[in-house]
């Protein structure tokens, strides 16, 4: 079973995402901020991370930079999640190592499509 780490400061969004991912046969883990997410990755590296761009304290991109400095290659796959008014710069996200982006609010179809694009479903 593939694992997915959902990083978002909103509990509701984490729940919705985890439910969708579980339906897509992923084992899910949750983290509420960048530091927690890094710790979770050190404990057990997931196959994919659903990463909110705007996290409190450490931004999604800063988390991504730290993660990529600790891992080699493209593992894990990172999908960066933004909202319409989110200033997250996608070019910067790519440079930091994001593989795809998802605009919130997301639904099952969109998450499945994006996971398919990165070859995970």
């Amino acid at each position: 079973m593939k694992t997915c780490l959902v990083v978002d400061d909103s509990r509701v969004i984490r729940k919705v995402a985890c439910k969708i991912l579980a339906d897509l046969s992923f084992e899910t883990m949750e983290a509420e901020n960048g530091a927690e997410a890094l710790m979770a990755c050190r404990r057990k590296m997931p196959d994919v991370i659903l990463l909110d761009g705007q996290l409190p304290q450490m931004s999604g991109i800063d988390f991504l930079k730290s993660l990529r400095s600790e891992t080699k290659g493209n593992h894990p796959v990172v999908l960066i999640c933004t909202t319409e008014n989110d200033p997250t710069d996608l070019s910067e996200a790519i440079i930091a190592g994001a593989d795809e982006y998802i605009l919130k609010p997301f639904d099952r179809e969109l998450i499945a499509a994006k996971l398919a694009e990165v070859g995970l479903v």
Binding site: S91, Y101, L103, L110
Partner: protein, 281 residues
């Protein structure tokens, strides 16, 4: 409670003027689509608009037809078709047209431009222009507002995220607030024009590839057959026709043969008409 207006004349106009079949049961959808026209033309309500429609005032008829079209689309919608275009159609044409180095592509119902711009991205990837190819990419739609949008080339985040990989988004678009604008380079590759598929195809060039996706399904059988036949008239003998996945299994694709193991990709099964033969020689 107001009683349901009589949509039979509207259905008649749509069928006659655009080939579009009005689904009887979708009265709520009809209302939602007509209300902006009611407001724009200053009518009291839908029945007064429908009454006026009988007088055939052209601007009103066109506005009503446009309002009644379904324009949903997406970049690289039905990805497989674009893979087929890139992996099967394009390599074959590159070889077949290596002497003239000319390619002519027509996107028949392009909505807000997502389909022709997706094609343009693939052509751009293939670096044909660098190798001296001249490419004509014509994109048409009956809906002039869609054509205006396509020419503008600005899309919401919602529109770009389905089907457009992040790298393509960042390299081919610039962000403008919450929207994304297509690069001038890609925009210049496409010629847009408002055009009704029921009208004459005389102005179109002989095409190597025709994309006719997710539009035949709105037409009645007679219109489908007529559109496909006339596309056949302007399609080069070895040209390719790409239709939507929902349309590919239908028996109305007469005069074409389905490519082996490539759903939605058709070639002509009949000899080229006289006009073509004389030009192809």
């Amino acid at each position: 409670m107001t009683h349901c207006p009589d949509y039979s004349y509207l259905a008649n106009v749509l069928l006659r003027r655009a080939g579009i079949v009005l689904a009887e049961k979708k009265t709520h959808m009809i209302e939602t689509r007509l209300m902006p026209v009611v407001r724009r033309f200053g009518f009291r309500d839908i029945p007064s608009l429908l009454k006026e429609l009988h007088y055939g005032h052209e601007a009103l008829v066109q506005a009503v037809i446009e309002a009644m079209t379904t324009n949903d689309s997406a970049f690289f919608r039905d990805r497989k078709t674009f893979d087929e275009f890139r992996d099967i159609v394009l390599p074959a044409l590159k070889e077949a047209r290596s002497d003239t180095k000319q390619l002519k592509i027509w996107c028949t119902a392009c909505a807000a431009g997502q389909e022709p711009y997706s094609i343009a991205m693939l052509l751009d990837d293939a670096k044909l222009a660098d190798e001296g190819w001249s490419i004509t990419l014509v994109a048409t739609d009956i809906n002039s507002q869609m054509i205006a949008r396509a020419q503008e080339g600005v899309y919401s985040q919602f529109e770009v995220q389905r089907g457009l990989p992040i790298r393509r988004l960042v390299s081919n678009f610039t962000q403008e607030g919450a929207n994304w604008r297509i690069s001038d380079h890609l925009r210049r590759m496409v010629t847009f024009r408002t055009f009704n598929l029921l009208d004459s195809y005389g102005w179109l060039p002989d095409c190597d590839v025709v994309f006719c996706r997710n539009v035949l399904m709105y037409f009645d059988l007679k219109t489908r057959a007529s559109v496909l036949e006339r596309i056949g008239d302007i399609l080069m003998p070895d040209g390719a026709l790409l239709v939507g996945p929902a349309e590919s299994m239908d028996s109305y694709i007469l005069g074409y043969v389905l490519a082996d193991s490539a759903p939605g990709l058709f070639y002509k099964s009949r000899p080229a008409p006289a006009r073509r033969l004389s030009l192809v020689k």
